[in-house]
Subunit: 458 residues, 2 copies
């Protein structure tokens, strides 16, 4: 545990000890055999697993939309791992059932649903978005649950261009079809709605994104809510990443209008640093829509003749059967830190992102993709050899190959981890994600220095 | 941790410290506020959460299809909770990607897929069953992924009467419709297939259950496989509960023919005691069907210009985005114990179930529902006041009310936890589940004595 908790978060240690799949297979003895192994061998397996794992809690890990180590949340994780509760019935998970309810209610308060609503924690934001599609469909066409889609008209989902890929995955899984996800810039949405209806397809929901994955951009929720109200469409806000801004008096304007959404996905395991996974799906409805949509009334689990109020058995709201008590990982840290500390952390992360963006603008060889709205800072590094090229196709083609090489070098060195990606017609660029309060301006400077050092010869 | 690990598994302690939802809300201070709380208060919250939680690892917890404490698996849990890997890319989870692959391959070997296959760990058996429905559909009608179901014929799933409710949930979610799940006794399946086709609906899969939830019964896989081959239907075997019998030379005949399945769901977190959740979905296909069915090719995560072999990025096989490294919890204990020890545990649990069934038959006032095929022992307790009643509707009506009262009393006393349920036209009966090697014949005797003591006045 010394290795896994202390060393992993120590800035003087490496973020990763990179090995290729082939090398790592050699190093780890993966095979499972008839006889067991000694305690000392098992301990060595644990040490190896830790050694060659990526230290996602390291202060120089900026690769994903989660980072850092929150000790209270980790303690909560350990407690629930050891207790092994499963959140289908109050009978098996009384404490965690009540805690989930308390956390959901508080999150709804932050969203601005004064009259409350309903919700459920589940295994990730993709599942929350999937729930949203199913709920929107059930709200409009409840008979699909029984009869299936073959009796229904062609249904259409609207979403913004920058939405997470889980909307598409949900459309495929739920039988809506990926081609029936209409990707729109929202000003064109009204006309599109009308024209689609004319073609015999029926739009039933709009997905807006609060904090997009790559750019950290926010869709204009108020405008979209106006359209949804006018055309009677379910409004889902995917705030998995951006929802944390609701904690901040300074930044919550980014989500203005979110109280008008029918459903919201919000992952405290991202910006708010609850341990993985901690992912909430929230619904404004107060008529048990979530339960009605997903229930199967298994008589072996949800007996109606129990000796307590069975409305506390939340399992039939879910598409899962056994379900982990993820809310506790958020509740315990929230208890310990209070809302104000969470607010300060968000403010600090966004200020740090702004600092990094300014540094990018100042430095030669760096170019900012856009001003950060949130904690994503997207930029190109232009090695000296390309700095005199004119800004044409040749330049971008060459620049496209730079980030992958720098990424390879940083992983092999183990000094830090920063993601890169292409995006639309944009050549590969770096995406820095700033989350943890352990991260300082020095770390920001280090990142830019290190990218330059790793790439100046390219 | 003393409380949560040692006390929870101590047979002299209570299984639960029952409080009603209303009482528990009073006892726990659930509210989340602006200011944080002191370390000592947080410690008290942890103690309270542990105290009032159900001790599912306690030797007298027989309430669900999981039980007991497996220390190696718990250590693996703690390591992964602290490391926070997410299994979408090799880049972020190199060790756990390879371990997942090694465990899946070994499980496929146990199933008898000599040429291997594909698979994924996911958040529970319900999700595995959902994957099966989606994969079967994609296999037969790949265009549904893009075009949706509105262009498709009415699709039909066959399943046995005792199947888990997640098949119905999957049918609802995926737009197949719960009414298109045809519940069949399998001998009638052939005729049903034909008649359904005549009506214009198209059967595309059969779900067989290996180890049903309530009775622990096994569908005849060989017979069902014959039908599936004849009619070109996808055969999915839900072996979430019964899969563990594959570990046992003595009991694997229960799943005879499973190698002919197209897909298998198998949860090591159940009979094999890996920590929650540990749930595998396995596919015999070797043409990347899983990937093709679920992929969305997000360019920010699954870049094709990475410096390592990106076939190790398994995330696009999943409907989740971030995904926990659950296979490690099984791998580490399997490494430590070896296949033979796992086999002995399964044999021991099933022998113990048989012992309990014999005791039930011997004792006055107990009546066995059926001979156990697996680790479920289902029986009624008949209090002295009902023993002279004749076996008519009046008797069953009264007997139906007995189990809920005994359950209430055992929970309030905290002496043990055993589930009860009605089933089809059967009145409420107890379902004992025997899993843990910590459980002895004395515990079996205790259960029957305790049920009698708690219910003899009814």
């Amino acid at each position: 545990m010394e290795d896994v908790v202390k060393k992993a978060t120590d800035v003087t240690e490496k973020v990763c000890e990179w090995r290729s799949p082939e090398q790592l297979k050699e190093l780890l003895d993966l095979e499972l055999t008839d006889g067991g192994e000694s305690e000392s061998k098992i301990l060595q397996h644990c040490r190896d697993a830790i050694r060659y794992s990526i230290k996602t809690t390291h202060p120089r890990f900026f690769n994903q939309l989660y980072a850092g180590m929150e000790p209270y949340s980790m303690v909560a994780s350990f407690i629930t791992e050891a207790l092994k509760p499963s959140l289908y019935t109050y009978e098996v998970a009384p404490v965690f059932t009540l805690i989930e309810d308390a956390v959901l209610r508080k999150m709804m308060e932050m969203i601005g649903w004064e009259e409350g609503g309903d919700g459920i924690f589940n295994a990730g934001g993709s599942m929350s978005n999937m729930y949203a599609v199913n709920l929107a469909r059930y709200h409009h066409y409840p008979h699909i649950k029984e009869l299936g889609l073959s009796a229904a008209p062609r249904l259409v989902i609207f979403t913004s261009r920058e939405c997470h890929y889980s909307i598409s995955k949900a459309a495929a899984l739920l039988g809506v079809g990926t081609k029936n996800v209409y990707v729109e810039k929202f000003l064109g949405c009204v006309c599109a709605c009308v024209s689609v209806c004319v073609q015999g397809a029926v739009p039933f929901m709009v997905n807006a994104t609060a904090g997009t994955t790559v750019l950290g951009a926010f869709d204009p929720i108020e405008e979209i809510a106006d359209i949804c109200e006018k055309y009677n469409l379910w409004l889902h806000v995917d705030a998995c990443w951006g929802g944390a801004a609701l904690m901040s008096q300074k930044h919550k304007h980014l989500l203005k209008g979110i109280h008008r959404a029918n459903s919201v996905a919000w992952n405290p395991h991202k910006m708010l640093m609850a341990c993985l996974q901690c992912s909430a799906f929230l619904v404004r409805d107060k008529t048990h829509l979530l339960q009605r949509c997903h229930s199967a009334q298994a008589s072996y689990l949800f007996q109606q003749d129990k000796f307590y109020d069975v409305s506390y058995d939340t399992g039939d709201k879910s598409v899962q059967c056994s379900r982990k008590p993820d809310a506790f990982k958020f509740w315990l840290m929230w208890k310990a830190l209070g809302t104000r500390e969470l607010e300060q952390r968000v403010d600090r992360a966004l200020a740090m992102a702004r600092y990094l963006a300014q540094e990018v603008e100042k430095r030669e060889g760096f170019r900012l993709l856009m001003d950060p709205e949130y904690a994503n800072v997207c930029f190109w590094y232009i090695p000296p050899s390309l700095r005199n090229l004119s800004d044409g196709p040749e330049f971008w083609k060459k620049l496209h190959t730079v980030a992958p090489v720098i990424k390879e070098r940083m992983m092999k060195k183990g000094s830090m981890m920063v993601g890169y990606q292409p995006h639309g017609d944009k050549a590969n660029f770096f995406r820095m994600i700033i989350i943890s309060p352990q991260v300082s301006k020095q770390d920001m400077d280090f990142v830019l220095d290190e990218i330059h050092n790793l790439g100046k010869d390219l």
